[in-house]
């Protein structure tokens, strides 16, 4: 590094505009949301700044406890399915020549960017009686008459997996594509089948990435706010759906905010777990 005084600063003045924008339109709204969660609801209005713990007390009831548990369980299941399909898929994808990877990456990005409204609409069409896949099964003689597969838990699971799988693959992609290709090749030269090499050499080498990706996809699935509503029955509604419902249709913003604070805490807890895994990984690598 040169000892000369920097003539024109160190570029830190550039931080002022983004800092102000993020402060005013992310930190302030976020803080306001936390404040509102302690405020009293006004019928037909938004809220009144009278401090109360009622919104949290209501949330801590058995009914909402069950919803929290269901949301966590559903998201964990979605993340697990994505991991089981996504890890071998990303591995296979990363071993393709780079040129052949590109169309897959474009397709994954296109599906990932799809509106939840569009995903919900297309899966409910795919699983419907009039336009659904059952018509195909009838035509093939596998079913007697067309049937609807939605609303159901399976439909919710399918839709959310569809939404999260591209995300899972793209989160995996850097670790898999940076993996030394000689690792798998060495195992196969020594006589392991590709599947065995994947299970016994590749996966253990990427333990940290697997754990981190599971958590990241879990949080992603927790954020799904429409699919449980569009593809499931009311008992399949998750915390995100309920927050939207309370905020918009029941116009009870304080209660919605209290649930949102819970959702943030759950997500942050999980993300810091990921950071912990990450730190441990770099330590063991050092």
């Amino acid at each position: 590094m040169s000892a000369a005084q920097p003539r024109e600063g160190s570029g830190q003045g550039a931080l002022v505009f983004p800092g102000v924008m993020l402060g005013a339109f992310f930190v302030v709204p976020f803080g306001l949301m936390i404040a509102v969660s302690f405020f009293q609801r006004v019928q037909g209005g938004f809220y009144e700044p009278i401090v109360t713990g009622a919104n949290y007390a209501r949330f801590l009831s058995l009914f909402f406890g069950e919803i929290l548990l269901f949301s966590l369980g559903l998201s964990a299941l979605v993340a697990l399915i994505c991991l089981v399909v996504g890890a071998p898929f990303t591995y296979a994808l990363s071993r393709l020549p780079r040129r052949a990877q590109v169309p897959w990456l474009v397709a994954l990005l296109a599906v990932l960017s799809l509106s939840e409204v569009i995903i919900g609409f297309s899966w409910s069409t795919l699983l419907s009686r009039t336009a659904g896949v059952s018509n195909l099964l009838v035509a093939l003689g596998l079913m007697a008459s067309p049937a609807a597969f939605t609303p159901s838990f399976a439909a919710v699971l399918l839709g959310m997996t569809y939404q999260a799988l591209p995300y899972c693959v793209l989160v995996f992609y850097p670790s898999f594509s940076r993996l030394d290709p000689s690792l798998g090749e060495a195992a196969e030269t020594l006589g392991a089948s590709p599947i065995r090499a994947f299970l016994t050499v590749i996966l253990p080498a990427l333990r940290g990435a697997l754990a981190a990706t599971f958590v990241v996809v879990f949080v992603f699935a927790l954020g799904s706010y429409l699919l449980p509503q569009l593809l499931g029955r009311p008992q399949h509604w998750t915390l995100s759906v309920l927050i939207t419902d309370q905020a918009i249709y029941q116009s009870n913003m304080p209660f919605a905010a209290a649930m949102a604070v819970f959702l943030v805490l759950a997500s942050l807890l999980l993300v810091s777990l990921t950071a912990l895994f990450g730190a441990r990984r770099t330590e063991s690598a050092a």
């Binding site: 003539r7 160190s10 570029g11 830190q12 550039a14 931080l15 505009f17 983004p18 800092g19 924008m21 993020l22 402060g23 339109f25 992310f26 930190v27 976020f30 306001l32 949301m33 296979a92 990363s94 780079r98 590109v102 990456l105 474009v106 994954l108 990005l109 296109a110 960017s113 799809l114 509106s115 939840e116 409204v117 569009i118 995903i119 609409f121 297309s122 899966w123 069409t125 795919l126 419907s128 336009a131 659904g132 896949v133 018509n135 793209l170 850097p174 594509s177 949080v219 706010y225 429409l226 995100s240 939207t244 918009i248 913003m253 919605a256 905010a257 949102a260 959702l263 943030v264 997500s267």
Partner: protein, 260 residues
């Protein structure tokens, strides 16, 4: 074996899109598959039906403005961090990434509480600002990658030859990060186009974006335009990401090492 695996995943990804593509070709106003009679009239209707055309125009305008603002917020952060890693820089970077990592309802609800409290609830610019904040992380990630790809020695050489910071920015930084800037904009644009919940909680009662209009159509009456415009959105996303891949290095952008 691996070919079968690719085919199955491809089928899974393509199936819902294939169904709505089929539904969108129905000659009559009905959602059946396989389609009864083939017609492209529902694609024409996106542009001839005043409501759908307005929704499309609204969505595209919001997405273009929000993506531009997201880039304007992300660029200085990435630049400052490239010049020197400071605590302030790290904090602002964390603030830029956080909204996207947290569940989207959080940003949406925060925006609803904020805009209604300051009295701008329902104004068109609120969704632009809130989308820009939510999607800042995308150009931030691509631009950070862009800056890290600039060889420090080139910058040192330029300074030795007497270039000041402005000359360095103009002759080295700008051309090297341009592709990352464009792809960051593209990511934010496509995601803003498709975003539903933040748009709904900011301007849902005064304006209709395409996702909001599809959602309303789902509740209050089907029209095959929902299918045709969904197919158009899938095609648009594929086209834009395809262009990013055509003019940039998509695997590198998504985190693979430099081409060996």
């Amino acid at each position: 074996m691996s070919r079968l695996f690719f085919a199955l995943v491809g089928l899974f990804l393509a199936a819902p899109v294939a169904i709505i593509a089929g539904v969108s070709l129905n000659a009559q106003q009905s959602l059946v598959f396989p389609p009864k009679g083939l017609s492209l009239r529902w694609y024409g209707a996106i542009f001839t039906d005043a409501d759908w055309r307005a929704a499309l125009l609204t969505s595209v305008s919001i997405a273009a403005l929000a993506a531009a603002l997201a880039v304007l917020i992300a660029l200085p952060i990435a630049y400052a961090l490239w010049r020197r890693t400071t605590v302030a820089g790290r904090v602002v970077q964390l603030l830029g990434i956080s909204p996207f990592v947290l569940p989207p309802v959080i940003t949406a609800l925060g925006a609803l509480a904020f805009w209604s409290t300051v009295g701008f609830y329902g104004s068109p610019f609120t969704v632009v600002v809130s989308h820009a904040i939510f999607f800042t992380s995308l150009p931030l990630v691509t631009l950070t990658l862009g800056f890290s790809s600039i060889d420090r020695e080139i910058v040192e050489a330029a300074r030795t030859m007497g270039a000041d910071e402005r000359a360095v920015r103009r002759t080295i930084v700008a051309p090297m990060i341009r592709p990352y800037l464009v792809s960051g904009f593209a990511f934010a644009f496509v995601l803003s186009l498709n975003e539903y919940i933040i748009a709904y909680m900011t301007v849902g009662f005064t304006m209709e974006t395409v996702p909001i209009k599809i959602f309303n159509a789902l509740r209050y009456g089907y029209t095959p335009v929902m299918a045709s415009i969904s197919v158009l959105f899938v095609g648009l996303a594929a086209l834009i990401f395809g262009l990013v891949a055509r003019f940039g290095d998509l695997p590198k952008l998504l985190g693979a090492w430099e081409r060996r």
